[in-house]
C-alpha cells in the first residue's frame, strides 16, 4: 500500500471540527442531565413506587436496555412523524440519547438506593437525628459517593454515543468529519483527527470528574 499522509488538506478544517466537538459536548451534557433526572425518577418508582407505576417504568427500562440506541433514535426520528410528532434531527437525537441514558441511569441509581446502610441510619436515629437530618447528613452523601463513579462512566459513554447524530445529519464532530471526508477524500487523516478530538474531549472530562471525585467523595483513581 502506498499511501502518503496529507494532513495539510485537512488542517484548514481544524476549527470547524473543534466546533463539532463543542456541539457533541453540549449534546452529551444535556442528554446526561435529562437522563439523570429520568433515571432518578424511574429508580425511585422502581424501588418505592406503587405496582402499576413500577410495571410501566420497568417496561420502559427493559425495552431501552434491550434495543440498540440507533434503532431507538430511528424510531423517534422516522416513526413518530406518523403520529404527528415531527422533530428536527438534533432534537430527535437528543431525546433518544436522554431516554437511553435514563434507562441505564435508572439501573445505576437503583443500585445506589440498595446500598444504603440501614445500620448507619439506626446510629443516626439513636443519636437523635430527625429523619430529614439523617437523609441530609448520612443517606445523601453516601449515595452520592456510591453513584459518582458509575455516573461518570455513563457520561463518557454518552459523549461517545453522540457520534450517532451524524447519521441524522447533525453537524457535530463525526458529522463534520464526514463532511470534510466527502470534500477532501482524506479519510485516514480526517477520521484520525476526529478520534484525537474525542480523546481530548473525554480525557479533559475524565480529569475534571476524577478531580471532583477525589476532592468531594474521596474516590481514589486516575485517568490512566
Amino acid at each position: 500500500m502506498n499511501y502518503t499522509l496529507q494532513f495539510g488538506q485537512v488542517t484548514p478544517y481544524l476549527w470547524y471540527l473543534a466546533g463539532g466537538a463543542w456541539i457533541a459536548l453540549q449534546l452529551a451534557v444535556v442528554a446526561f442531565i435529562i437522563g439523570w433526572a429520568i433515571g432518578l425518577v424511574c429508580a425511585s418508582i422502581t424501588e418505592y413506587g406503587p405496582k402499576p407505576a413500577r410495571i410501566a417504568v420497568r417496561s420502559y427500562v427493559v425495552f431501552v436496555l434491550n434495543t440498540p440506541l440507533l434503532v431507538q433514535i430511528f424510531f423517534i426520528y422516522f416513526a413518530l412523524p406518523d403520529y404527528g410528532i415531527l422533530l428536527d434531527s438534533y432534537d430527535a437525537v437528543l431525546i433518544g440519547l436522554a431516554l437511553n441514558a435514563g434507562a441505564y441511569m435508572s439501573e445505576i441509581q437503583r443500585a445506589g438506593f440498595r446500598s444504603i446502610r440501614r445500620e448507619e441510619i439506626e446510629a443516626a436515629e439513636t443519636l437523635g437525628f430527625t429523619r430529614v437530618q439523617s437523609i441530609r447528613y448520612v443517606v445523601v452523601p453516601h449515595i452520592l459517593k456510591v453513584l459518582y463513579p458509575p455516573l461518570s462512566n455513563q457520561f463518557i459513554i454518552i459523549t461517545m454515543s453522540t457520534s450517532i447524530a451524524a447519521i441524522f445529519g447533525v453537524e457535530e464532530l463525526t458529522g463534520r468529519a464526514y463532511n470534510i471526508n466527502s470534500i477532501t477524500f482524506r479519510s485516514l487523516e480526517v477520521f484520525s483527527i476526529s478520534a484525537v478530538y474525542y480523546i481530548v474531549l473525554t480525557i479533559v472530562a475524565s480529569t475534571i470528574l476524577y478531580t471532583v471525585g477525589r476532592y468531594f467523595f474521596r474516590i481514589k483513581g486516575s485517568v490512566f
Binding site: R117, E119, E120, E122, A123, A124, E125, T126, L127, G128, F129, Q133, Y137, V138, P141, H142, K145, R218
Partner: protein, 245 residues
Amino acid sequence: MPYLEIDNLSADYGKVPVLQDINLAVERGEIVSIIGPSGSGKSTLLRVLTGLLKPRAGSVAVAGEKLRYDSPKDLRRAREKFAIVFQQFNLFQNMTALRNVTIAPTIVQKRKAAEVEAEARALLEKVGLSHRIDAYPDEMSGGQQQRVAIARALALKPDILHLDEVTSALDPELVSEVLDTIRLLADDGMTMMIVSHEMGFVREVSSKVVFMADGRVVEVGPPEQIFDNPQTQRCTDFVSRILRH
C-alpha cells in the same frame, strides 16, 4: 428509687415475642451486664431501651418518670439520656473520626461548634485516638473504629451507655484496647448496660449480672453468684458450658 426501672417490658419482632415481662432496676453508677445464649433477647432489650424497637407492653421509667416510646417528645428524651454502641460500630463512613463525634451535639443539641469540637478532641484523646482525629472509618482498624463509636456515644453526655456486643466483631488482638476503654469509663462512674460474651471482663467490671434466656430474665445477681453459684438450672448449664473451655 433506682435510676432506671424496667417494668414487665415485652416486645415482638413481627409476631415472634422476643422479650417477655422483663423486670430490671439499674442504679446510677452501676454496671449491669447481660449474658445468655444467642437469641435470648439481650441485644433486643438494648434496642428497646434506646428506642430502636417499640415495646408491646410494660414500662420504662427514668428517675421515676415514665418514658413513653410512642411519644416523640419522650423518645427524644430517651435518646438524649441513653446512648448505644453497636457490634458493627456503625460509624458514618463519609465523616472523619472528629466529625463522627461532633455531628450529634452540633445538629441535634445545636451547641456551639468550637465548644463541641474541644470536647470531641478531649473524648478522642480519652479513648486514645488523638492521632487519628482526621481519619475516615475505612482508614481505621476495627478497634479504633469502635473507640470512635464510644466517643461518639459519649458526646451527647448520656446518663446510661449501652454496649451491644461491642467486641464481637473485632479481631482477638483488638479486643483488649476496647475493653480498656470501657474500664476507663467504669472508673469514671459511668452507668453502663453491657451485652457481652467476654465473660472474664463481665465478671471483673460488673456490679450486677443478668442472665437471660428465651426473652426472659432468668437470674440476676452479683457476678460471684452468677458465675460461681448460680441459683437456676438454666444459668448453671450456660455458665458450665461457657467456662468449660
